[in-house]
């Protein structure tokens, strides 16, 4: 797959990132190199390899349903760019964004 500036800009929009023209060009080059690497991987013959969803041979790594103490609030949100009354303050979002 050839990565274009259009794709870069679309991904940037979905990620909420604003890119200048030089940044877009640089990003298209870097992302293109990563996507290009998958083209190399795609050349491998994987006919005899079982499909898998995880690279490690692990399954059912779960914990028991036990409540543990939450973080100290002030410490937890200390790095947020803006805070108010113990909330994280975000730029106003229109109602109905978000997902499912």
């Amino acid at each position: 797959m050839k990565l274009t500036d259009d794709i870069t800009l679309r991904v940037a929009k979905l990620s909420g990132i604003r890119l200048t023209e030089p940044e877009t060009a640089a990003m298209t080059r870097d992302l293109g190199a990563i996507v290009g690497y998958f083209d190399i991987l795609n050349e491998l013959d994987t006919a005899g390899v079982e499909p898998r969803a995880h690279i490690l041979p692990l399954v059912n790594r779960w914990r028991e349903d036990v409540v543990t103490p939450s973080s100290d609030r002030d410490e937890l949100i200390a790095n947020a760019p803006a805070r108010r009354d113990g909330y994280v303050a975000a730029p106003k979002t229109f109602e109905g964004g978000g997902s499912s």
Partner: protein, 475 residues
């Protein structure tokens, strides 16, 4: 015959009743000061890693089995990306490619509504929009709470079927104890996908998705209103736009939230921080064997075993608290029909008076059984029994017998006492006695009323009537 057919599919989000969140140990308890039930995992801080809650998987599997699904033995979690302040990681851990439960169904008025899948995911945080400034405030307490999303096929054809499907699913989940299923508090949330098409067509029309529906009643209203809106658009020759709409229950109408142009590309991929599941046949069989009796089974059993009507059965099995109370009360007092009548009548009426939902019912089956027994043995009359019930439900009384004694609710069953009152009333109101004997039947009611008053409502009216009739006849 109508010209159009409504086609509805549902997406039902259900918050699971675990103590801790799905990927961290923070509490899932409702409320709490903002951001006091959150940690680096909830906040998506760099380096924080999710650890799957086993109980959430158990609950989701239980829901799947109860709704006739196949369990995916090697289910996997995926990242669903979108950018929004209530989701600090900028992705939600969900399931797309290998959801935990697939291909189930729920029976609605003799018809099967197919369930495409039930997948596990995490809830997002909560935003409050400050009307005075350009700021949204984010509380992450709910972020990471365990959810299942139940997705039906577009098999529903009317508002009634949509409401019934949700009612059936809710009854099953609440019986399983996997969720408290409170629509008002948002622990069960229903999105309605709806399109219309000409009657007889096999093709699906363009659909709209409605969100923010928070009661059973508003599901029906939303389906009816959206059907009418889409038919009107078609009749006016306007296209139906694929969009998400927000239901406003007070207006009884929905409005557009976002359309397909803003549709999100979620860029799903397998969550590398969580290992896949591997559930054996034995593991699944054990869970299947441990399922409690489900509403559908109770629905078949009650009329046969207890002689209850389909209507009574339906109301009882729709609420876990009611059918538990019914079954235990019936077993304790041996009078299932009386137990059903009391619950359907007095208990539900008392709950309604108190403005409480059935799951807040505070009525030990032992107390209700005792009340029923006292009434059927003729120790208390209906009024006395009702007073005892109210006292127990309000917490005023714990011991039924103690309350009956303390408030002198026991009926005067003593023949001589009743006869004495009859005599006394006849003496004090000789006019009515004379009038009755002269053929004025109305006078009997007056005498009876005075006798009941003298007994302060505690006399057996049947026996009293007999004694009065007898005494008047003797004169």
């Amino acid at each position: 015959m109508p010209l159009y057919e409504t086609v509805v599919g549902l997406e039902i989000h259900v918050e699971l009743a675990t103590a801790s969140k799905v990927f961290c140990g923070c509490s899932t308890a409702f409320g709490g000061g903002q951001n006091t039930r959150a940690c680096p995992v909830c906040m998506g801080l760099p380096g924080a890693l999710p650890a799957l809650n086993r109980q959430a998987v158990e609950y989701a599997v239980r829901a799947g089995l109860a709704l006739n699904c196949s369990i995916t033995k090697n289910a996997v979690f995926d990242r669903k990306h979108y950018f929004y302040p209530d989701l600090p990681k900028a992705f939600q851990i969900s399931q797309l490619y290998l959801p935990l439960c697939v291909d189930g169904w729920v029976e609605v008025s003799g018809k099967r509504i197919r369930i495409r899948e039930i997948h596990m995911e995490e809830d997002a945080g909560k935003l409050s929009h400050d009307p005075w400034t350009d700021v949204s405030l984010v509380d992450f307490n709910r972020c990471g709470a365990p959810l299942i999303e139940i997705v039906t096929q577009p098999d529903i054809r009317s508002a009634e079927e949509a409401v019934e499907a949700v009612r059936k699913i809710r009854a099953a989940l609440s019986m399983l104890g996997v969720s408290d299923c409170k629509m008002q508090e948002g622990s069960l949330r229903v999105d309605v996908n709806l399109s219309v098409r000409p009657m007889g067509s096999d093709e699906l029309g363009t659909r709209a998705e409605m969100k923010n529906i928070n009661s059973l009643r508003s599901i029906g209203r939303a389906v009816t209103a959206e059907t009418a809106r889409q038919i009107e658009q078609i009749e006016l020759g306007k296209p139906i736009i694929q969009q998400t709409r927000r239901w406003d229950d007070s207006k009884g109408a929905s409005s557009a939230m976002r359309s397909k142009e803003d549709a999100l590309d979620y860029r799903y991929f397998p969550e590398p921080d969580l290992a896949p599941l591997s559930l054996s046949d034995e593991w699944i069989a054990e869970r299947r064997a441990a399922l409690p009796e489900l509403p559908e089974q109770k629905r078949k059993r009650y009329p046969v075993e207890f002689g209850l009507s389909a209507y009574d059965t339906d109301i009882l099995v729709s609420e876990k608290a009611l059918c538990e109370l019914f079954e235990r009360t019936a077993a304790l007092c041996g009078r299932p029909k009386d137990a059903a009548n009391w619950i359907m009548g007095e208990v539900l009426a008392a709950l309604k008076d108190r403005g409480e939902p059935p799951d807040q019912l505070r009525l030990p089956p032992e107390a209700l059984a005792r009340i029923i027994t006292l009434q059927s043995d003729g120790v208390v009359n209906r009024n006395g029994a009702r007073r005892a019930l109210t006292a127990v439900m309000s917490g005023e009384a714990e011991d039924v017998d103690g309350y009956v004694t303390a408030n002198q609710l026991a009926m005067v069953g003593d023949e001589s006492a009743l006869a004495g009152i009859v005599r006394q009333v006849m003496e004090s109101d000789a006019d009515s006695v004379a009038a009755y004997r002269a053929g004025k039947e109305k006078a009997f009611g007056r005498l009876m009323g005075q006798a009941m008053k003298a007994l302060r409502g505690k006399g057996d009216p049947g026996r009293l009537k007999e004694l009065l009739t007898e005494a008047l006849g003797e004169g």
